[in-house]
Structure formats: structure tokens, C-alpha cells
Amino acid sequence: MINTLLIGILAPLVLGPTLLLISPKLKNKLGWVAMLIPLISITSIVKVALSVYSHHAIKATTMGLEWIPNLGIDFSFLVDGVSLFFGLVVSVMGLLVVLYSKYYLHETVQDNGRFYCYLMLFMSAMLGTVFANNLIVLLVFWEFTGITSFLLIGFSHEKKESRTGALMAFVTTGLTGLLLLAGLILLTILFKTSDFSQIVSLIGENSLTTIFSPNQIPYLKAAMALILIGAFGKSAQFPFQYWLPNAMAAPTPVSAYLHSAAMVKLGIFLTVRMYPIFKTLSGWNETLLWVGFITMAIGGVFSFLSNDLKGILAYTTVSQLGFLIGFYGLGTLGLEHDFFQILNHVFYKGSLFMVAGIIIHSIGTKDIRKIGGLASVMPLTALTATIAGLSMAGIPGTMGFISKEIMVSKVLELVNVNGGGVYWIFPALLFISAMCLIATSLRFIYHCFYRKTQDGSLSVHKPKLVFQLPPFILSLGALFLGLFPESGGHILNQLNSGIHHVSPSHLAIFHGFNEPLLFGMSIIATGFILFAVAQSVNWRFTGIHKVLLFETHFLSMLNGIKLLGKQIGSKLNVDKQQNYLAIIISFFVISFWYIGFSTVTSNILPIFSLEYLETDTLHFVHLVAGSLLAISSICIIAARKTISKFIALSVTGFTVGFYFMLYKAPDLALTQMLIEAAALVLVLILFSKMPKTLKNQTDPIDYTSSGFKLIISIGFGAMMTSLILIATLPSSFKHMGKYFIDNTLSLAKGSNAVNTILVDFRGFDTMGEITVLVVATLGILGMLMNKKKSTGASDD
């Protein structure tokens, strides 16, 4: 069975890219081939569903393959009501969207192979996410939906708005996805497993507070918060709602898919998935409630104020997503018929997006103010839009009505249970949102299809019938379940029952005259009044103020980061190469002394006792050589002329040779003299290549910067002095130098230990040293060779 499931999930991933290869040959017919892929997925998911279905219930089953055993991460999947419901929604919608795209892409987009490929990759990612059992696998697919949606939204990549939309969506969901990752990591650390079903069975019916000690509860809460942020980001909840309207720059089929059935539902999905884990944690319901209802109200109001066809739909989507999240916030109250709510949204919103696509496709504008009277051209689409729009408005007879009915009754129950007070704000927010949605829906239907156009300039391109079919199918679904809610509710509840443990109440159009009905009716009434009022002022008030559009803040924040980067860059002198050395040396010196003083000094200073230094004998000749060294090196700074500086350096060099003698190192002294002579020659050659003035040039001393230089260099010198003293402190460690003395004659057959070390004991170093010389010569050669070449070329 795992194989069947894997075929269902991975077939789009594997077969999607092959569409690219065959697209040049098939051209327009590619759509038909592409439809096979969702069919494969649907078939396998149904097959899997049937195999776990017994006794009128879905038996939650996990299955998987080994993936990264070292991290305890299996490629495991969970087949239960939740995953099957979402999986079927995703794959069936995928099929419809491909069918729809075939006609949509017909003329507008050239490279349809790429489009279908992205779409299939996206579908695979979605299926993987909803079926995943291992939390890390879930995250992998979750992020993959982000990547593929980035490609889909930015499909028309030469348009700037499309790129910006893709950027917003990707960065927002990417950031929240990372926070989700952190949350999931916390969860896996707390439960010691990343296997979702194990975690659930670990919890069982216990409250989290009984499983974890009080000091672990804050971590749980952090995990909850992070996971919810991930969900909110994906589902465009407040304050992340801004990306969704901008993502509408995508081709319409993408909007219909991503923003009705698929990606934005992932946040909802995650909330459902995590519900069994967090249900007993305080804060879970409250967060969902507040965020959901606020989003719902904002989305409703903004949709009322928008003029862009897709913008209107986007904000209604935001509103509806808030509705769904808020619904889960009702706690056990909200678990009844949750899938019914989701399916409702899938039906009408998918349908409406497709309708919008047909309109845009046919007349080439998105501005609702310029559209009108399309009913005569496309009666089927008009019918579709009417049904779907009324469902969005929640007019009796549609699925939307029942959905809202349930919501109203639950919210009122919530108020009752909690004794009113601040809880009245939720019905109020619901009222505002629903009222705006009704007005918006009516506007959408009326303005697009039934009103007369103000100018006859609209050139309409009549859409094909098959093109209009997918949205019609969806709207029929909304209508059917609206009229006969029980028939569909039954199946949905079976999917549901596995995980929520609630026995759902009866679904019907009419429950009798009660509080919720009155509330609902009053919403409808005010909605109509609002529409009438708006209509009378000809919608002149529309448009959303810039401050309220978070996208402007988002973009200015990005710009701010860029500016910040520039500022940091210039503060750090990244473009001033002359300062690099100074910065690095100062950092090194400062941090050395910081470490020295903070952790070490107090412990080391006592070691430098005077006794140890008293045994340190000093001969006159040492004194002379040392002083000569010090004086000659200071002379390098003190000398004004470059040539005198150089002379002082040479004196130092030869004195170093002498100092080597004092350290009983004759070989060293000899080498030093030789090298010093060679260096002298080199520098003299350099001098000869430079104009005379340079040699005699005097440096004006810059006292401001020389103070800084002096401090840093003294810090460096003192660092070396103290390091030498520390390194030469008497200790019990045996130095391996003795081994060489002892063995140089017997093993290496040489009396000079230094020589035997160089050529025998550590001959490998010497080989490296010679290599360095060879490479240095090559490098020098390279510099000089090309110089000739380049000057020669310029002569030509």
C-alpha cells in the first residue's frame, strides 16, 4: 500500500518534468497529457482510502520507508480522515485546474510545458505535506510547496508585479516556515520523536500538563506559538495577510488552485493536524480565535473596498481563511463540520477564481469598474458566478448559508458559555465581515454580469464552453451540498471521526426559528442594505489607504535592510582596502587582550614569580646585541628617508643573524646572512626600478593616526612578549628536542642535529618548504610574464 500512496504523491513530481520534454511536440495538446497525472494521483489515493476503510470508518494507518535512519527520520505517511480529505481536495482540484488551464493557457502563455511542470511539482508537494506523518517530512514538503508556488506566482516573470508578488509570498512563507521548523524541532525534542502518530498516541487522552513538568510548559507554548506562526504565514492570517492579494499576479489557474484549494489551506491543515497535540494547552484556542476573527474582519472590509477583480477575491479568501482558523479556535465547538466549511470554501472560491479568469481572459481587464453586462455573452459563467457568489454571501439554499449558520450558532454558544463580556467581540467581527462579504459578492455578480456597461468599448472574446465547465462543476457542488447538506456531511463526518472524537450534529437547511437564524438573517439584510447604499454612491469610496496595506511596509522593510547593509558596509570600511590590515590586526589584538584579561590573567600572573626571573642570567654581549636590535628597528620608524629606513632594516637583519649566534644556532646565523643578502639585492633592484625621488622621499608624520597605530602595535608587541614568556614557563613536559640530540648520530648518521632534523627526521617539511619556493618563483614569473605581455599588447 505504501507503494500505491507513493505513486500518488510522487507521480506528479517525477512525471511533471517529463512534460517539459514533450511540450515542444504536443504544444496545445499537452494539457490532455497533463491531466493524466492528477488522475493517477486521484486513483491511488482512492485506492489507499478504500484499503483503510472498514466498518464505516477510516482506520488511521501509518506507512513508510526508511529515509535517514541516522536522524530517526522515516519517509512515513499517515493515512487518516484528515489526510485523505485534503489529499482528495488537492488532487481533484488539480485535475480541474489542469483542465481549465488547457483553455486558459491556449493563447495567453507560450511555454505551457513549464507551467504544467510547476503545477505538477506543486501538487506533489501539497500531497506530500498532507499525508506526511513524520514532522520533518511534513516540513520538507511544506517548504517545497513554498518553492513551487514561488515559481508559479512568478510565472509571468518579466512583469515586475508578478516578481514582487512571488517575492512577498516566498519570503513571508519562507520566514514563517523557518519558525515552523523551529517549532517542530522543539516538539520533537520534547516528545523525543518526530513521528506524528507516535506523539499523538503518547499523549492519548492525557492533558499536556500531566505529561510534562511545569518547567517544560513554556517550551511547549513556544513550540505552539512557532507552529501557529507557520500556519498563519501560509494561510495569510493577520499580520501576514498582505502576501495573498499580491500573489494574485499569478496566472488565474494558479490563483484558483493555490488560493482556494491548496496552499493557503495548508495553514488550516496544520491547525487540524496539530489540534490533537495542543488541544489541552491554554492559549491555543484563544490565539486561533483572535487571529482568525481579526483576519476575517480585515479581509471582509478590504474586499469590500477593492476594485481589482482578483484583489476582491483575494481579500474574501483572506476573510474566509480567518473564518476557518477562527472556527478551530472555538475548540470542541468548532470541530463539528469543519471539513464541510473547508469544502464550501474550495467549491465557491475555486469556482469564482476560475470565473474571474474567464472574464480576464475574455476582455483583458481586471478592473471591476470597467466590466459589465457579460451575462449575455457567457450565460453559463454568469450562472456559475451567481451560484458561487451567493454561496460566498451565504444566501439560503447554498452551502455558504449552512456554513455560516453553523458558525453563527457556535459563536453565540461560545458567548453564552463564557458569559458574554469581551466575547461579544467575536459575533461583532463575524457580523462586520459577513456583511461586507455579502455586499462584495453582490457587487461581483451584478457588476460583472448583469449591469449595463457604461461605454460600449469592451471587446469581448467569447470563451469556449469546456473552458467554462470546471467552475460550473464546482458551483454545482456548492449548490448541491447547500440543498442537501446531509448527504455530503455524512461522508465528511466519516473522514472526520477518526481524529476529533466528536459526534456531529445533524446538518439541515432549516433548524427552525432560533437565535442563529435571526442573527444570520439580520446579517443578510444589512449586507443587502450596505450593497444598496454603496451602489447609490456608485462605489466612489473604494480603495484602501496605503498605511493599511502591509505590503508597502514589507517592501520598505526590505529596502531598509538593504540600506542598513550599505551603512554597515561603510561603517565597517568594506570598500576601503587600505584599512583592511589595520582592522584585522586591531581586532586580533583587542580580542587577545580581552581573552587574556577576562579568563586568564588572574590565574597566570602569580606564576611569573620573581624567583623564576632571578635565575635568568644576562651577559653583556646579549645586552649589546639586543639593544642594537631594538635601536635599529626603532630607527626604521624614526628615519625620515625611505633609503635610511631600508638601511636600518638591513642592520636589524644582520643583527638578528648575530643574535642567532647567541642562541647557539650557527646554521641559522649563516642562513640568515645569506637570505638577508638576497633580500637586500631584491630590494635594491626594486629601488632601481623606482624613480630617485621615492628613495629620498620623506614621510610627513600624521600625528592623529600615528597615535592609533602606536597603540595597536604596542598591543601587538606586548601580546608577543607575554606569549613568549608564557610559552617558556618551566613545565614538566618533556621536549622532544632531546630525542633528536640522542638519536642524530645513531639513527640519522649525522652529528649536526639541526641538519638531520631538516633532511631526515622532518624532511617532509623541507620538501614543503622547497615547494613553497618553487611556487613563489612561479607566481613571480606569472606577474612579470604577463606584464610584458600586456605592455606588448598595448604597444600594438
Partner: protein
């Protein structure tokens, strides 16, 4: 001798770093040269106090040899240092011929303006 040497070496390092931070190519070159000298001396001090010790050439009847390993390390380091210094000399020559200036700030400022 140890304390004295370490102070002298410290002074040499101070001067070397001071020179390296200068704004002209040639003093910087001298700074790097001096840095190598100072480093070699510093390595040599690791053979502890040389007073009363003998160069590490085996002779009969002598036992208080100085530690030969630092000397061997320095021999390697001197040669490597020479290679690097030679490279630096040529590089400075090339920079000078390419930009016509020995002042580091002007050499690099020119580029940032272009």
C-alpha cells in the same frame, strides 16, 4: 636572557606592525621583513635559555646541547618567509608600475572612484 629577549622581540613586533600600518608601500614592505625577523627570533626563544648551552652538533663528552628543533623550524620558516617576501617585493613593484603611486590610500581610492 629570556625576559630581555622577549622584550626586545616585543619591540621588534611593535615596530613591524607600526610599519605595516603605514600608508606607503615601501615601509609596509619593510614592516613585513621585520615581522619575519621578529617571528624567527620568537621561535628561537622556545629553545629556552641558551646560556651555558652548546650548539646542537654532537661532540664527545658534551651533554648540555640546546634544543635543536626550534632551529630547524626557523630554517624552514626563514626560507618560506623569503619566498613570500620576494613575492611581495615583485607585487609591490607591479602595483607601483600599474598605478604610479606608492601611497596606499591613493592606490585604492582611485579604484573605488572608477
Amino acid at each position: 636572557m629570556l625576559l630581555f629577549s622577549s622584550i626586545i622581540i616585543g619591540i621588534m613586533f611593535t615596530v613591524a606592525i607600526y610599519l605595516i600600518l603605514e600608508n606607503r608601500l615601501l615601509p609596509v614592505l619593510f614592516g613585513f621583513g621585520l615581522l619575519t625577523h621578529a617571528a624567527n627570533l620568537a621561535i628561537l626563544t622556545m629553545s629556552k635559555n641558551p646560556v651555558g648551552k652548546v650548539a646542537p652538533i654532537i661532540k664527545d663528552g658534551v651533554s648540555n646541547y640546546i634544543d635543536p628543533l626550534p632551529q630547524a623550524l626557523i630554517l624552514t620558516a626563514i626560507v618560506i618567509g623569503f619566498g613570500v617576501t620576494a613575492f611581495l617585493v615583485v607585487l609591490i613593484y607591479r602595483i607601483y608600475t600599474a598605478s604610479g603611486s606608492t601611497k596606499i590610500s591613493t592606490i585604492f581610492n582611485e579604484e573605488t572612484h572608477i
